[in-house]
Symmetry: C2
């Protein structure tokens, strides 16, 4: 037989006091004597009794849970971010409940309803969209909500992001500084705010260097390796129109572009330079090692949970109105997939 | 201002009935009239009222949560497994609460205590170790617990795994069938059950083909790319003792071995064949594309949640005693990192 779960009755029996006394010792320790408190504590240790956390949280009108909405838990991009959030939450006595929305507005709304029915005390959105029930929430939403990774335009909620426009600007400028003039933009899906921001940075870099934007040099993908292979085959096949540099909105697409380049007999970076985005775990071990924009993913998670805990802290005065987004700095990681322009 | 959260009072006002009637309509629908039920349902739809899920779960003595212990949420290996579990749980009306144990027995014990205090209804262990408070639990533990990915020797709890011994046997046999005789074992940490099982399969393949086991051809790593680089440098540097084939216990280590082989001027697979394990997302896009053992990660997650939901279903008769582990089949994926033995 497995060990019986200890109840408050077991604690009372071991301590030789009434159930009411155990309850008082647990919840109003100042009204019982030092001796009684010690007897109850010893009985709790002996029996392995755990107060019913759910009941206690109900009494405190809190769940002890922080809800985290991710668009796809199957995407390893999120794992380091989740790890950063999880550790910060755990230190503050909260647990993290992850909801996988699969980009489905119905699932987003269902999770938001859990938040509003007190099944979670707060929420972090990594999915770039405000669930319908929260659409009218002001910056000082109760329960608190924090946005991370994908900013939501016009939304006043506290937000932790990288500066995607600036990062794309710097990556594209790096290619320009190495003599490249014909630079492709292997972009994410058009309706995604990351795409909007990264494409804006790519365009600003070209404009500031007097390079005309050629719409034929933009390929719209979905961040996947397969999309990168398609982009590479499409952009690199014709030697006459071929770009010498490609700025890719994900390392996955950069890897796909390199796979396609090799298929076509092109050398990276001697014939074509490929710039990635994210600095995924494998970027350094790829052949050639990827030049990329490092997203500080764990730091993004840590900042998001710090912002949320601040809102949850009763000692923090109520914050109202919009706050500026917290920008976590990115870094260009220059490896061997980029080099000087062969025609430079 | 954000929309006010609807209360039971709001529902009563909209329906033109008392709060007690709303409560009866919700919890004992058979004692109120059809007309009243319809009025209350219409008022719930109008107000957007959500019953307090936490209070309802407390009444039902359930949390609606399934707790998932993972050794490291930052390891992308788990993302597809979590995704499989999450979707199965969601379909059955459960939410998944992920606990990141960081291989810390104290954290494992803390999460197990949550389970026992009814903060979760059931638990799936992906961390290969029984938390201390559960160490004496029998196969029909209440609340139910299912083990996935890493079997726990001697533990009678329901378990979903791959056959690591057989998979390693098949991978090593593939190398032997291609003429390799000097085959290295780039293994995981020695205290890990995966290592024990995969090393056993590697050894069985050599034995069955009359090849002596050379302890100098085993390298103990930690599944990481860096460990693979170290293994490759150590095993491949000396042309006299160099193996022609390497069975690696993770794709990360296989990639590291290939990085080291290229550093040493060796061609993969012409000079050395490298076999991985896992079939991570990038395996097919690596250069050369990795030959590996495909772990059906989503399927592992789906099977684990199916087994757990079965235990949670009140209609399923109580199961007692040990059950055989559910074995999810693996598959050898032969790509270009392996080939015939150059001396063969």
């Amino acid at each position: 037989m497995h060990e019986k779960i200890a109840t408050i009755e077991d604690v009372a029996r071991h301590a030789g006091v009434s159930i009411a006394t155990v309850s008082r010792a647990l919840h109003k320790p100042d009204v019982v004597s030092q001796t009684t408190r010690e007897k109850v504590q010893a009985a709790i240790a002996t029996t392995g009794y755990t107060a019913n956390v759910m009941a206690r949280n109900l009494r405190l009108n809190r769940s002890g849970m922080i809800l985290l909405l991710v668009p796809d838990i199957g995407n390893p991009f999120f794992s380091a971010i989740l790890s950063g959030i999880e550790q910060g939450a755990s230190k503050a006595g909260y647990n993290v409940l992850i909801g996988d929305t699969q980009n489905d507005p119905d699932r987003e709304a269902t999770y938001a309803a859990y938040l509003r029915s007190n099944q979670a005390d707060a929420m972090i959105l990594l999915n770039g969209r405000l669930p319908a029930p929260l659409a009218n929430s002001p910056a000082n939403a109760t329960p608190p909500v924090v946005i991370a990774c994908e900013r939501i335009p016009g939304c006043g909620l506290p937000t932790v992001i990288i500066d995607n426009e600036q990062a794309a600007f710097e990556a594209t400028t790096h290619l320009i500084n190495h003599g490249h003039r014909k630079i492709a933009n292997v972009a994410g899906p058009g309706n995604n705010i990351l795409t909007v921001d990264r494409t804006a940075g790519y365009r600003r870099a070209l404009s500031e260097h007097g390079i005309a934007i050629d719409p034929k040099l933009t390929f719209v993908g979905d961040y996947s390796i397969d999309a990168g292979i398609a982009a590479g085959r499409s952009l690199l096949a014709d030697a006459k129109t071929r770009p010498t540099g490609l700025f890719c909105a994900s390392d996955g697409m950069a890897i796909g572009v390199i796979v396609a380049a090799k298929e076509l007999g092109l050398r990276v970076p001697q014939d074509v330079s490929v710039f990635g985005f994210d600095d995924i775990h494998l970027a350094a071990a790829y052949d050639p090692p990827l030049t990329t924009v490092r997203q500080p993913r764990r730091r993004l998670g840590e900042q998001a949970i710090t912002l949320l805990l601040d809102r949850l802290d009763p000692k923090t005065p109520n914050k109202t109105g919009k706050t500026d987004p917290v920008i976590v700095p990115t870094e260009l990681i220059i490896r061997q997939s980029t080099g000087p322009c062969p025609q430079g």
